[in-house]
Subunit: 235 residues, 2 copies
C-alpha cells in the first residue's frame, strides 16, 4: 500500500513548523512505516487538501483510507498495524496519552505560541504571510507584533506551564519512561514547533528540557534535525 | 496483616483536606484493602509520625512495612497486591500516571491553593493555626490574607490550568477512560482538597468538572462525601 502524508510547510519544503504534522511523522516512524510521498501544504493551500473534506493538516492517505487530525492518525495507525511497535503500550496507556495530548494542546502550545509567532510569520513563505496574519490575528484578538511587548510575562508563564514536564523528566529519559512512545512525540512536537518557528531558543543551552528535545529529535536517524536550520542560521 | 493510615486532619477527625491523604485512601479502596486504623495527624503533629523518619503524611503502615509519600504508597500497593485491581492498568499506563501526578502537583495545586488558603486556615484546628500560618507564609512569601486581593487573577489562571482536564473529560467519564484508576484519584484529590478547605465552590454548580468530582466522590460507597460538610454548612 502507498502511504502519503500531507504536511504543513513554512518557508521551504524542509521547514516544517506544524507540531501536528510532526506527531504524524513520528507516529509513522515509530511504526516503521515508510512514507512514499510527503506533500507540502502551505497555510493558505486549502485546495490541495479539499479531498479530505476539511481544511487542516496533517492528513494521512494509506491506500484507500484518508485520516485527518494527528490524534486520529495515531489511533488509526495503532489499530491498522497492531503487529508493529505500539504507540501507546496498551489501552490504559492510550487513554492517558490522550491526557498528555490535551495538556500539550491546551496548556503548552498556548504558552509557547506567543513567544514564537512573530518569528514564525517572518519565516514562512511570502505568499502565505497575509493569510497567516489574518487568521491568527482574528483567532488571538491582537496583532502578531503585540506579543513582543509582553515577552517577559509570556516567559514567566511558560516556566510555570513546563513545571510538570520538568518533574516528570527529572529521573527518566522520556515522558513514556525508559523508551519513547507517542506521548513523547506529542510533547516534543511543541518544542520542535518552537525550534522550527524561531531562531531564538525557547530553552537555555543547559536546560534538561533542551536535552530532552534533542533526544527525541535524534530518534529515527535524526528525523527532527531539519528544524535546527534556523538555530544554525542564527549561530 | 494490619493496615494503618496516617492522614492529615483539619478542624475535626472527619475533616480531611490533604489531597495526598485522599490519594492514599482511594488507592487502598481501589485495591479493596480495608484500613484497620486511621490515625489523624494535624499539621503540627510531627511527633506522631516521627517513626517514619520524615515529617509528612500520608504514611501507610502495612504489617512491618512503612511507606510515606502518596506516589510511593500507590507504587507499593500495586507491587504488594498484584492480584487485586490494578491502580494503573499496566507499566506503560503507570509511567503516564506519573505525568498526571506531576501535572496535578505542579500545575493544578498551585492554581487552586491561593483560592482556598484563607478558608482552609479558618477551618483547621485552633492549635494548628499558628504553625500553618508560619510554614505556609514562609513557603509562599506572602500573607494568607493577601491572596484575596488577587482572586480574579487566580480564578482566570485556574480556568487556563483546567483546560486540558476539560478537554480530556469532554467525551468520557474518567481521566483513565471508562473506568476510574489512580490517575482519577490524583486529579480528584485536588478538587476534593478545595471542597474540604472552603465553603465557596471552586466550580459552578453546572460545571462538568463538578459532576466529575461528584462521580469520583461517589465511588467506594461515597467515600469522598465527608468533604461536602463545608458545602452543606454554607448552603
Amino acid at each position: 500500500m502507498t502511504i502519503t502524508l500531507y504536511e504543513r510547510v513554512g518557508g521551504s519544503d524542509d521547514h516544517r513548523p506544524s507540531p501536528f504534522s510532526w506527531r504524524a511523522r513520528y507516529a509513522l516512524a515509530h511504526k516503521g512505516l515508510a512514507v512514499d510521498e510527503h506533500v507540502p501544504v502551505k497555510f493558505h493551500d486549502k485546495q490541495i487538501i479539499a479531498f479530505s473534506g476539511q481544511g487542516l493538516v496533517p492528513i494521512l492517505v494509506d491506500g484507500e483510507t484518508v485520516v485527518h487530525d494527528s490524534w486520529s492518525i495515531a489511533l488509526y495507525l495503532e489499530e491498522a498495524y497492531p503487529e508493529r511497535p505500539s504507540l501507546f503500550g496498551g489501552p490504559h496507556a492510550q487513554e492517558l496519552t490522550h491526557f498528555v495530548n490535551a495538556w500539550a494542546d491546551q496548556s503548552l502550545m498556548p504558552a509557547v505560541f506567543p513567544l514564537v509567532i512573530a518569528d514564525l510569520h517572518a519565516n514562512i513563505a511570502e505568499d502565505d504571510k497575509a493569510y497567516f496574519r489574518e487568521t491568527r490575528e482574528q483567532r488571538l484578538g491582537r496583532s502578531i507584533e503585540s506579543f513582543a511587548n509582553d515577552r517577559a510575562a509570556f516567559e514567566a508563564n511558560l516556566a510555570k506551564v513546563l513545571a510538570p514536564l520538568r518533574a516528570r523528566l527529572a529521573d527518566r529519559p522520556f515522558v513514556a519512561g525508559e523508551e519513547p512512545a507517542y506521548a513523547d512525540y506529542i510533547v516534543f512536537s511543541i518544542l520542535q514547533f518552537a525550534r522550527c518557528a524561531s531562531p531564538t531558543p525557547l530553552l537555555a543551552a543547559d536546560d534538561p528540557l533542551r536535552a530532552y528535545a534533542d533526544r527525541v529529535s535524534d530518534l529515527f536517524d535524526g528525523m527532527g534535525a531539519s528544524c535546527r536550520r534556523l538555530e544554525r542560521l542564527a549561530a
